[in-house]
Structures are given as C-alpha cells and as structure tokens.
Symmetry: C4
Subunit: 293 residues, 4 copies
C-alpha cells in the first residue's frame, strides 16, 4: 500500500467511521461547529445584536465556512467513491452548508439586499448535517417508508377534504367575511382540520359555523388514521426486532429478548452474551470472533 | 361478436380498465384534466386574476366541461350496465362534475349572481373524480367501516359532551361575553374539545375558565379513543394481510404466524423453514431453487 | 299471575326491554321526544326565535315535560325494584329531565331570572337519556374503566406539569403581560399543553416564549400517553372478544373469528352458526336451546 | 436493639413505609398539607385576596413551612442512609419545598421585590412532593425510559424541522409581518407544528400561507410518531404484565400466551386448561380446588 493510499484510508476511517477514538473526536468537533455556526446565524437575525456585533459575527461566519469547506474537501479526497459521496444526500447537504457564504461574497452586497438575506438564512440548512449523527432514525424512517403508500392515500384524502370544505366555506361565508378566494379558504380548512386554529379566519354566519364544526370533528377523527398507520407499522417493526433469535433445534423464531429456552420445543437458545454480540453484528460491525470464542 | 359490440368492449377495457397501455394513458389524461380544471377554478376565484383573464378562464372551463362530458358519455356508452354506472358513486360524481357549467349557461347570468357563484364553486366536486385512482384507500375504508359502530358511539358521546359543556358555559358566561345562544356555545365547545381553539370565543370569568379547562382536558383524553379504535382495527387488518402463507390443500391465506394447521380445512401447513423462504420470495425474487437445495 | 301483575310485567317488557316490536316502538318514540325537546330548548336560547315564538315553545316544553313525566312514572310503576331504578344513573337522569320545568313553575318568574334561565338550561341534561340507547358504549366504557388508574396517574402528572409551567410563566411574564395570577397562568398552561391555543393569553418576552415552546412540545409528546394507554387496552379488549372459541379437542383458544379448524391440532372447531349464537349468549340472553339443536 | 435505634426504625416504618395504619395516616396528613399550602400560594397570587388576607396567608405559609421542615428533619433523622436520602430526587424536592420561605426571610423584603416574588412562586415545586404518592407512575415512566432513544431522535427531528420552517417563513414573511428574527420564527414554527396555533403570529403572504399549510400538515402527521412509539412500548409492557402464568419449576412469569415451555428453564408449563383457570384466579378469588379437580 503506497503512503498516499494509506493516508487516504486512515482519513476515511476517522472521517466516515465512528468506532475509533479519533473518529469520534472528529464527529464531536463537527457537531459543535454546526451548533455554534447555527448560533451565529440566529444571533445575526436579532436586530440589536446584529448592529452591535456585525463584524464579529461576520468573522465567525467566515471561520465556520472555512471549517466546513475543509471538511467537505477532506471527505471528497478520502472517500473511495468521491462522485457517489458528492451526489449523495449528505454530500449535497455538506455543499449547501458552505455555498451560500461564497455566493454572498460574489454578489455586490449593496445591490441585492434580499438575495443576501436569503443566502444568509439558507445557511440554516447546515442543521441537516446533524441528521448524519442521529442513529435510531433508521427504524423511524423505515416504518415511514413502509407505510408511504398509505400516507400518500391519507394526504390525498386530506387534500380532497380541505378542497371541498374550503369551497363550501367560500360559498357560505364569502369575501366579506375574509374568505376572499378559494386558496384562502383552503388555507382556512387546513388550519381547521389540523386543529391548529390560528383564529385569523373564523366563520361568522351560523351555517359557516356548522360547516366549521363538521370540519373540526372530521379533522379530529381523521387524526386517528395516520397515528393508527404508523403505530401499527412501528409495532411490527419493534416486535420484528425482538424476534431475530432462532431456536437451534426447531428453527422457530419469535422468542422474547430475555428467553433462554425455545417456547415451542424447550431446547436451549443461544446464550444471551452471544446473542448481544449477534445483535451488534446485524448493525454492520464484524465481531464474529467474539461470538465464536 | 359484432363490430359495435367489439368496439364497446375495447373501449370498456381502455376506459374502465387500468392494465392495458391505452387504459393507463386514458387514466393519466383524465387525472391531468381534473387537476388543470381545478386550477382554472381556483384561479377564477382570485380577484386580480379573474378580472384580467376572465375570458380565457371561461374558455378553458368550457373546454374541460367538454372533455368530461365526452368521458361521461363514453363511459355510459361502453359500460355493460349503463344504469348501474349512472347510479354508482363514481357515476354521480362524473355527472356532478359537468352539470354546474350547463346549469350556469341556462340561468341568465345577470339575475342570479349568487347561484352562478354557487354553481361555479360546485365544480370543485370534480376532485372526487380523483378518488377512483386512489388504490390503497380500500384498506383504510374497510377498517373505518369495520369500526363504524364504535365511531358512531364515539361521535354520539362527543355530541352529548359538547351539548352539556356548551349549556354550562352558556349559563356561566352568558350573552354579555359572546355566548349569545346555546348553538353558539356548542360551537365553542366543539372548537375547544377538538383542540382547534380559534380564540374568537373565550371564557372571561374564573368559573368559565375552570369549565373551559375541564373541557380541554376531556377533549385531550377523548382524542385517544378514536385513535385507539382505528389503530386496533388497522393493526388487525395489516397483520391479517401479512400472513401470506397459503394452505397447500385449500389455497386460503390469512393464517397466523405460529399456526401449524390450516384454520379452514385442517391440513398441515408448510414447515416453518419453507415458510421463511416463501416469505422472502414474496418480495419479488424467485429463490425457489434455494429452498429445494 | 294476577291481572295487575301481568300488566306490570308486560309494561316492563315494553319499556325496559328492547326485543319486542312494542318495546322498540316505545324506545324510538322516546328518542324522538328527547331530540325534539332539545330542539325546543335550543330554539328558546336564540334571541330572535324566543321573542317571536315564546308561547309556542313554552307549550311544547310543557308537552314534553308531560311525556317524560309519564315515562318516569310508568318506569317507576312497572319496575320490579322501583327503588333500585330511582337511585340508578338512568333513574336520576330521568328525574333531572323533568324536575327543572316543575321548579320553574314554583319560582315566581319575575324575581329570579337567573334561576329560571339556569333551570331552563339544565333541561339539557335530557340528552343523557340518550346514553341508554348507545349499545356499543360498554366496550368503550370497560376499557376506560380498566385503565382508570393509569388515567388518574396521567391526569395527576398533567396537573403537576401545568402547575409548574403556570408558575414559571407567572414569574417570567408577570401581571403586566396578562398573567395576573397563578390560576390564570395555570389556565394558560392548560390551554397550551392541550394544544388548544386560544391566543387570549400569549407570552411576550423571549424567555416566556422559550418556556411556552417547552410547554407545547411537552404537551405534544404527553398527548401520546393517554392514546397509548387506551389503544393498548382497546386492542386487548378487541382481541379478547375475537378469541372466545375454544378447540373441542385441545381446548386452546385464540382462533380468529373465521377459523374452522384449530390452528394447533387441526381438529374441527364449532360451526360458525353455533358460534354466532354462543357469542350472543355471552351478552346475557339465553338462546341455549338454539345452540343445542 | 437500643431504644433510640428502635424509635428510629419505628419512625422509618411510619414515614417511609405505606403499609402500616400510622404510615398511611402520616402520608394522608402530608398530602393534605401539600394541597393546603398550594392553595395558600395560589390565593396569595390573587390581587384582591392578597391585599385583604395578606397577614393570614403569611402566617399559614409559616405554619406549612414549619410542618414540612419537621417532616424533612424527621426523614433525615430516621433514614438509614441520610446522605442517600438528601441527594435523592425526593430529598431535593423536600428541601426545595422549604428553602424559598427561609431565603425570603433573609433578604430584606423592601429591596428585592422581584426576588421575593420568585421565591414565593418557587414554593410551587412542593407539588412535586405529590409524585411520591403516585403509584402506577412506574409503568408509565418505564415505557418512557425504554423509548428514550427514539424520543430523543423524535425531538431532534422536530428541532431540525422547526428550524428549517422557521428560517423559511422568516425569509418569506420578513420583519414587516411580525417575523422579526429567526428565534421568533422558530417560536412560530413550534406553535404551528404542535397544532397549538395561538394566532399571535400568522403568515400574511400567499407563499407564507403555503409554507404554513405544509408545516401544519407535517406537524399533523409527525404527531403520529411519538404516539406510535409509546403505544407500541406500552402494549408490550402491558401484555408482558398480563401473562401471569408462572413456571412450576423456576417460578418466573412473563411467558407468552401460547408458550408450552418455560422460556427461562425449559421445563413444561401448566397445561392450557389449568392455565385458563389460574388466569381467572388472578382476579382475586381462590378457585385452586377447581383447578385440581
């Protein structure tokens, strides 16, 4: 192995891996940098703070952009497949985290104040860099994905309902009561059916109130549907995770995590220690030696 | 088969079927036409747009009405049982989608502005034509239907509760605080118990606030009931769908995961090992060789 | 059996029973009378209607009070245990449904307007008479009862939380921002934690908004607890209802409602017809002959 | 046993225990004292009451502080490990319940009005003393603890979402519509995504309303996730508690309902017939003879 290749591989283990001490230190540094840069951005949006500390915040911003640029270049350099990284979700997010600051430097700041503000706020997408470090998110995402067709059907039904109720209230209440157009009325229907209820648009007529009541009660019971879907999927996801141990004798799974004997034929199951390892295994690491010893 | 009958049948397969290439093309055309016609309707409701593009929107509206009229007539023509189609849910929706425009032509537009607006907005029911294309809606509908008696009991309980709380707040707060009548107070109770909380009607007295707090907490815990009902039904619906093992004798599925014998005819089911493989199979790949080796 | 006793028994079957034709007719008459009398009460609360139709509504009210008085006396007369009926939930509700009108007659109407209005609105409790006719309410009530200790714990936790958050916001925002006292602030906390959000009391300071955000997010995740409790209880309630059939051979239960054979040993289960009868049986009726034939 | 040690032990049983008559009387006295002292605090916050009964409320406050001080000292005295008690959750809460009153005595009341009010309100933490007496709270806490990692992931996702939506609405609506800074906009996003919807900050532009609608619908479906997590955990917790069959060999419970062998030691479990009887038993009656016959 040439020295450059070796360096690349070591960097890869530190930057993309999470199991070495150096890798964990790198991750924590990045997380702190993300949180601090978000703090800078938020402080910059506060009127009083921005006028007083504008220079310091700008400098901090350049510093963090430098840090994230370095991180991005390092990831590109040491990744075995740089193109795959650059086009992946995390690659795009990492690019988005540094791009706005560079774009803001290019545009003459005097002329396009709106663009500058937009670019500054776009830096908030840096928060997506944190998603990389959320580990249990897989189980949640998987159960959302598995029920994506039902969720699509659910959202389509909600779309149909809010359109119909929006049109109804538009006809009943009319522009004089604030329901000036169908999109405005659909906005009201969404505010109502999700039980948000801002109160910026409320029905005034008796018939309008009756329709609003119906919308609320419908929203109320419809709320049950996505909850039901996700609960059902999640229940199965969790119980599936619990029952991965198979009986060595009768090969039947479905044992609880604390079972020592097969509940169907009574023969001993794998020892808990071995099992803990095998559960670790299934998340990708290779401790196979430990389980054989 | 006579030529006319053959044409009718081919049209039937294209228009009512979804499996041929032409059938799918037809469906997609109709969906796009529905969405565009809804867009026209929504644009027409916007003040600024309506005054500027009134003529163009009116023409687009006539065009889409023509398209849907053609679709309706074709469906009537090629359906083997035209009467059954015309009186079915989708038949009525298809008629409702074109009727308002024709009615608007009949009424002299100067005299009945309200009717015209009503008829125009009624075209929104075209969105119901989309329901035909939502496929997974069956499982949701079925679990709603199966729990319809419990949902009826639930809504009756909500009706009883909002009536009582509405009457209570009406007595406590009285007309001077905006609670001018019992229906108005029931409207408040619905807004509160569903946690919408517009804020257009709020209790002012200490006792009224106490009653309101009770209403909210009740609404909060009652929210759990429909969710629970639908989740429980949905769980069973989903797990029933999951047990895809078929009886080798009577070919009926729906057995629980730990069943050894077909619950319909009593013959032995496939052994667990074979079943695990067949469950893998069902995700599309054909590893049937692996299970025989 | 003496004629009076016979008449009493026949009346009992008609009034308290639901299985005879006359009994069902009686029930439907009472339900219609309840709904109409509620309509009269609601109309009486509307300003415009009350001044115009005061006399007619008053007469209708006397008529319905007469009907319910007759019903109450008949129930007292034909009940085998009149005292038990009078002190039961339904007995008290039936008395409450007629009492206010009689009390209103006793009080001189000119002097105590408030009392009169209170008595009139109290007639709304007639709606509780409807609860008798909600049949599936048992399963809901039972699962609520079974989890009553957890619900008590839940409500106590909510009480602790809203007290603490109410006190916090009271200290932070203070009387100048509308949080004039601790009860007022607890009211705000309830409005917020239940996600009702009227908007009549909102935090103005930055710290207050942070505390409010925390309250909301807590309310949001706490919402999950009662839902979870009731869903879990309800699931078990429902699945318990499904698995009452026992295998005649191996005596194991837990079969799905459409199973014909025991899923453990394969022997035939009771025929579905017999089973439907036995399920009816378990709700108290005695059709035992039918199941033996 | 020396007399002092004996007294200590007896006090320990009364104060920390709940099974003796004296212990229960002690607990009830403390609960009543807590509730009364909370009442005093709440009355003190009411303007009218405070000016009129200031002296009496102050005296009551000193009395309850005395009671709780005595309780705290007794607990410290009789506890076998006073240090462990003092640093435990309940020990800290018991100290917090009395500290503010003493601190208020030290500070000269004229100079630091704000501190006095803060100290007075801090006495509300006495309500936490009640948590000791909530018994079923364990099962709720345990299921919350078991899903703490998923809850952390959930809250992180919510944090990411409200930051992004807050930044979006800040760019779209801008300071002129009330969205003066990013924290303010994040506060709006939390109010919206939790469906609280105060209505103090609402979008005015069409694009802002579209983004708000998206936020609501997302909040609406995200609501399902924590509910699902807790329901799934709770279901398993409850069903684990329900399988009360004990292994005749190792006496451990927690077997699934269809288990034939003890999952811990492998010995055969009781036959289903016996088990059905023993499940009936568990509701308190002792039909042990029936199961042997």
């Amino acid at each position: 192995m040439e020295p450059e290749h070796k360096l690349k591989h070591q960097l890869y283990i530190i930057i993309f891996g999470t199991h070495t001490r150096a890798g964990r230190a790198f991750d924590i540094t990045v997380i702190i940098a993300i949180l601090l840069s978000l703090l800078v951005l938020i402080l910059h949006s506060l009127q009083g703070v921005a006028t007083k500390w504008d220079r310091e915040l700008q400098l901090a911003e350049y510093f963090f952009t430098g840090v994230f640029t370095l991180e991005y270049l390092l990831r590109l350099y040491c990744s075995p497949k740089p193109k795959a990284y650059a086009t992946s979700f995390y690659g795009v997010v990492d690019l988005l985290a540094i791009l706005p600051t560079y774009l803001a430097l290019i545009f003459p700041s005097a002329s396009f104040m709106g663009v500058i503000r937009l670019l500054r706020v776009m830096r908030i997408f840096r928060i997506l860099k944190l998603v990389r470090y959320l580990q249990d998110s897989n189980i949640l995402l998987r159960s959302l994905l598995q029920s994506r067709r039902k969720i699509f059907v659910f959202f389509s039904s909600v779309a149909v309902l809010v359109t119909i109720f929006g049109a109804l209230i538009y006809v009943i209440e009319g522009p004089s009561n604030g329901f000036t157009s169908i999109p405005q009325s659909i906005y009201w229907a969404i505010v109502t059916i999700t039980t948000v209820g801002y109160g910026d648009l409320v029905p005034s007529t008796a018939l309008g109130k009756a329709v609003a009541s119906l919308t609320m009660l419908l929203g109320y019971s419809i709320l049950a549907v996505p909850t039901g879907i996700i609960t059902a999927e999640l229940s199965q996801e969790i119980s599936a995770h619990r029952s991965l141990v198979k009986c060595p004798n009768c090969s039947r799974a479905g044992h609880e995590s604390d079972a020592l004997h097969c509940k169907y034929c009574g023969s001993e199951l794998a020892t808990p220690e071995a099992r803990v390892v095998s559960e670790d295994n299934h998340s990708g690491a290779n401790h196979s030696k430990a389980s054989h010893s």
